[in-house]
């Protein structure tokens, strides 16, 4: 059995687990939807400012809400991996001819499916609140794919590495606020033109999450901008090329 097949088997294991852990499921869905509704309501007036790209603030905010679901949410994969380390199941899996990469990838893929469902719920809520997805269902699926991919190569990789290093679910959980920092340092709530600080604008421009958020927003508001979409996926691929070898190296340095 090759690594992708093993990863799919292990992803299925994760998917079976989720309904058996209703607290995880509930608390990974409800806060995101509440944040979407609350932030959308609080900043609704921003949409009336001259030059703002959307008439309905919920439309502008929807891609941000997807990232709020996928980036911090993928941290659960790291927590689950740490739990597997703690209770010995990770080692048990490795007594079969299974690669470490398959075990980690399987967990991340399982969580990606869960997060994709949550992201879809965000978009359903957005539509219910009067928003419109300009690119329709294909664009919505592309947004979800970009959001979950960004989650894997950022906080997913970070949490998996922490799980390897600490074997402690609580330690992995503790870094979750970092994921929000990644999102808040983007044009998540207002356009960069509306931000006064040039330093902050530069930081936002350099943030890879911004490179993913922009094409997602284009898909929501205006249509397909393939140049921006390509840049977004290049940012994701670039991060992946950095973090995946680092993860393997980290594992080998700990477990030889």
């Amino acid at each position: 059995m090759n690594t992708p097949a093993q990863a799919l088997l292990l992803a299925r294991r994760a998917l079976i687990q989720f309904p058996r852990n209703p607290i995880l499921l509930g608390f990974s869905v409800v806060p995101v939807l509440i944040m979407y509704v609350v932030f959308g309501g609080l900043f609704e007036g921003v949409a009336e400012l001259p030059g703002f790209p959307a008439d309905n603030y919920f439309e502008y905010l929807a891609p941000t809400a997807i990232l709020l679901a996928t980036v911090p949410g993928i941290g659960n994969a790291g927590v689950a991996l740490a739990a597997d380390f703690q209770n010995g199941y990770f080692q048990k899996l490795l007594t079969a001819p299974v690669s470490v990469g398959a075990v980690m990838l399987g967990r991340l893929l399982g969580d990606c499916v869960r997060l994709a469902v949550i992201a879809a719920l965000v978009l359903v809520l957005a539509v219910a609140l009067g928003a419109h997805v300009e690119t329709g269902i294909p664009g919505a699926l592309l947004m979800i794919a970009m959001g979950t991919s960004l989650g894997i190569v950022t906080f997913g990789a970070l949490s998996a590495n922490l799980a390897v290093r600490t074997r402690d679910a609580a330690a992995v959980q503790a870094v979750q606020p970092m994921a929000f920092l990644l999102i808040f340092l983007t044009s998540a709530y207002q356009t960069t033109a509306q931000i006064d600080s040039p330093v902050l604008r530069t930081i936002i421009d350099l943030n890879p999450a911004e490179r993913v958020l922009r094409p997602m927003r284009e898909l929501m508001l205006t249509g397909y901008d393939w140049g921006e979409i390509a840049v977004g996926f290049l940012a994701i691929a670039g991060l992946g090329l950095v973090v995946l070898p680092l993860t393997v190296r980290n594992y080998r340095s700990v477990y030889g």
Partner: protein, 334 residues
């Protein structure tokens, strides 16, 4: 092919003679002959040998094992051992912080034998078994399991071993049945085969009634049995058990011991047990090696070792005799 760290070709191992003076064959070839399982037949069992899809009902634990033996046709589980299933020479593990957990251990385990690695906590037992099970990378020496080198060919080793660890590694959200089936699938079994074997193994372990119960709800002893079933689902020729009865009550311990006896008798599995319970080694093992501070201090059949020390000697006395220190008593859970 050359064994790492030694520079010796793998065939060199085969020139070693067993305790009975049997000459070895080329290990990688001979191991396949021994278990009647070529690499290709392991991955794809002949069609006519596949088990029925419908669940087998009204089986006792023994008949479930018979059924498993039937599934293992193509293996020759009751064949007499012709080579050493495990060959270890100068195996060493030094951790990055300088701790020498294992210092040049050498031993051989014949196919079909139950071999005990005994010693107090911290003696290096788990590290040794971990290296043989490919979970820990040795820093020196060499080891071959079922004819394959643990460093150069870890995947081939893993296809041929079952490993029940000191801490029963289970997924608390999975049911007993799901856990065993997943392990079987990861070992390359088709879903149908893995499902049938899981059912039979759980029945053989006398825990079929909890097949659909989540592991979080099971007792420690039952989890151990599920873990053991998962370790056996691919019917490996070699089984490693690291402290298999640690923390279990006497009744559960006896249950595990009886199960291991039946597995050896009916499936012909080579068993390596690491334990700090001397009575466990005495009860289960054909031969034992007592390990102290990372080295083997004595090796032999329990009865012979006890006889050398005194007429009424126990293995604790043997340990005292060879190490000069008494073994700290370890209470068994009530």
């Amino acid at each position: 092919m050359v064994l790492p760290q030694s520079g010796l070709p793998i065939g060199t191992l085969a020139t070693w003679k067993g305790r009975s003076g049997r000459s070895g064959l080329h290990l990688s070839r001979a191991a396949d002959v021994l278990v009647g399982m070529t690499k290709s037949s392991h991955r794809k069992p002949p069609r006519q040998l596949r088990p029925p899809v419908t669940p087998v009902v009204e089986l006792t634990g023994s008949s479930a094992l018979d059924e498993l033996v039937g599934l293992a046709a193509g293996h020759t589980p009751n064949a007499r051992p012709v080579i050493d299933a495990i060959v270890v020479e100068g195996l060493t593990k030094t951790y990055p912080d300088g701790t020498e957990a294992v210092r040049g251990i050498s031993l051989r385990v014949a196919a079909g034998e139950c071999f005990g690695i005994l010693g107090p906590n911290g003696a290096g037992k788990s590290t040794t078994v971990g290296m043989l099970g490919t979970l820990i990378k040795p820093t020196g020496g060499r080891a071959g399991v079922a004819g394959f080198d643990v460093v150069a060919e870890p995947v081939e080793v893993r296809r041929r071993i079952g490993f029940a660890m000191q801490q029963a590694g289970v997924d608390e959200f999975a049911t007993a049945s799901e856990l065993v089936i997943l392990q079987g699938r990861l070992q390359g079994l088709a879903k149908r085969d893995a499902t049938t074997r899981a059912r039979l193994l759980l029945r053989a372990m006398e825990i079929e009634q909890v097949a659909d119960t989540r592991l979080a709800a099971l007792s420690g002893g039952t989890k151990r049995r599920v873990d053991l079933a998962a370790s056996l689902v691919h019917l490996p020729p070699v089984l490693f058990l690291d402290e298999p009865t640690e923390g279990l009550d006497p009744r559960s311990r006896t249950g595990i011991w009886d199960m291991l006896d039946r597995l050896r008798r009916d499936l012909g599995v080579t068993v390596v047990v690491s334990t700090h319970y001397m009575d466990e080694g005495d009860r289960l093992c054909d031969r034992i090696a007592i390990i102290d501070r990372g080295t083997v201090v004595v090796e032999g059949a329990p009865r012979a070792l006890k006889a050398e020390v005194g007429s009424d000697a126990t293995l604790e006395d043997v340990y005292l005799h060879y190490t000069g220190r008494a073994l700290e008593p370890t209470p068994v859970a009530a």
